[in-house]
């Protein structure tokens, strides 16, 4: 059970702690700076914070006993002389880290191993707690990587990394847009996964092409790794075979459009989403902020509203801004309008923490 939540915002990193009187803002770090994502490594308790200084670029910091220290930022190797690489729109694709879009700890048997997904699409691995990073050339040089496109941002990016809790050589990533990619040999080779997804933003002949899929968020049930859930640009999809095939879930009220998804750590049939109206109208339906939950593998859903604003709420919850702790009872999410809510009973009731934070990019239990 975690009593600490790290909230990454446009203007700093906020540490929320559970006190006897409820959840409170305890510490503000990097105040005034753009913090885009954090990771707290469950193996050693060390936290990592990604910052985007705009003019001065993306930086990565690591927690110490007395605060934070800047460590190496994943950076791209020199582009080969004469190589002209354009994205799918014909614009130059820079070999330079534009955003750290995912951070994930390696397996239990490989202390110090970290994964980092970036825009414009590079996946990096560190074997030394982030002291140094290596671009996963096997994926970057994969000929199909050139077919990845911008989705969540102008350039393609790796936003989800899933390390098999029982065999860390097996790792899945999700790309916006580029679908799901899988390695079973610690990154030596990669293959596409994700049959069954549907993309409506491309011509019919590409609709079911796994590489055309705009996955918004991919999660795996730790106790039952065969079960994966996806919040996709076109809806909700579930897999029971480690992401080989997915089935679309339809008929969920008020909507199946959104960005984040979390799954219960032990119950593969229980997952939560935060819906918005639809692609071209990214606000809560009818001004009512709701969390949707299924407890039966997607056959039925409940819209959870207890404690959430039910009129004139325009909160958007980004893909990394919904979190669940290892009990499966505690959840937290934050919104673009600075709202933060915590549930201690799997979403049945939500306690309002604050609605005055800067725009929230990521929420993670520490």
């Amino acid at each position: 059970m975690s009593d600490v939540i790290l909230v990454s915002t446009r203007k700093g990193l906020f540490r929320i702690v559970r006190a006897s009187t409820g959840w409170q803002i305890a510490v503000a770090d990097f105040l005034g700076d753009n913090v885009t994502l954090t990771l707290t490594d469950p193996r050693d308790g060390v936290s990592y914070a990604a910052l985007d200084h705009g003019h001065f670029g993306v930086k990565l910091h690591r927690s110490t006993a007395s605060g934070w220290e800047e460590i190496a930022t994943p950076s791209y190797p020199p582009k080969p002389e004469g190589l002209e690489e354009n994205d799918m729109w014909g614009r130059p694709l820079p070999w330079s880290t534009a955003r750290i879009w995912s951070l994930q700890a390696g397996g239990g048997g490989e202390p110090g191993v970290l994964w980092c997904g970036t825009i414009p699409g590079g996946l990096f691995r560190s074997a030394d707690h982030g002291e140094s990073w290596e671009l996963m050339r096997s994926l970057w040089d994969h000929p199909k990587r050139r077919q990845w496109m911008g989705g969540g941002a102008d350039l393609p990016g790796v936003h989800s990394i899933v390390v098999d809790p029982k065999d860390s050589k097996r790792t899945w990533i999700a790309v916006s847009t580029g679908g799901i990619w899988y390695t079973e040999d610690a990154g030596a080779t990669w293959s596409q996964r994700g049959e069954g997804m549907r993309a409506d933003h491309v011509p019919p002949e590409l609709t079911h092409d796994p590489i055309a899929q705009d996955v918004h968020c991919l999660v795996q049930c730790p106790e039952h790794p065969a079960r994966m859930w996806i919040q996709h640009h076109n809806g909700i999809f579930v897999s029971s075979d480690e992401g080989r095939t997915f089935t679309e879930i339809t008929g969920v009220e008020p909507s199946t459009f959104g960005f984040p998804v979390v799954v219960h750590p032990r119950d593969p049939d229980t997952a939560w989403f935060v819906p918005e109206i639809k692609d071209e109208k990214r606000i809560p339906f009818d001004g009512r902020l709701v969390v949707t939950r299924t407890r039966d593998g997607g056959r039925t859903f409940e819209a959870l509203t207890n404690g959430l604003p039910q009129s004139h709420a325009y909160d958007v919850v980004y893909r990394h801004a919904l979190a669940i702790d290892d009990t499966g009872d505690r959840l937290a999410f934050g919104s673009t309008t600075g709202g933060l809510w915590v549930s201690e009973n799997a979403g049945d009731h939500w306690a309002y923490v604050t609605h005055t934070l800067p725009p929230i990019y990521a929420v993670r239990f520490a």
């Binding site: 003019h55 001065f56 930086k59 800047e70 020199p78 330079s96 880290t97």
Partner: protein
């Protein structure tokens, strides 16, 4: 040697004191300067060692033209300013 000064805004993140550095091009001056302050390099230059998109370098009052290779010439008495563009947000 050229005189190099940095925007005040960068000092909050990494110390970049005004300094003198040798070189006949902006690239050479920057390489010499950052040799003793490698952390600052990544705040000014991107992964490919090009000038970051919203950074600006002036040599004797003129914005440099070659933001990729930093080949603009520098003299022994040049004044170089490393600034950042204005932005919102």
């Amino acid at each position: 040697m050229a005189n190099v000064a940095f925007t005040q805004n960068i000092q909050r993140h990494v110390a970049c004191r005004a300094a003198k550095a040798a070189g006949s091009s902006v690239r050479e001056v920057m390489d010499n300067l950052f040799a003793s302050n490698p952390r600052a390099r990544a705040y000014v230059l991107d992964d490919q060692a090009a000038l970051r998109k919203h950074m600006a370098i002036y040599v004797d009052g003129q914005l440099i033209r070659d933001r990729v290779h930093l080949s603009d010439p520098v003299t022994e008495s040049s004044d170089i300013y490393v600034f950042q563009a204005l932005s919102g947000g």
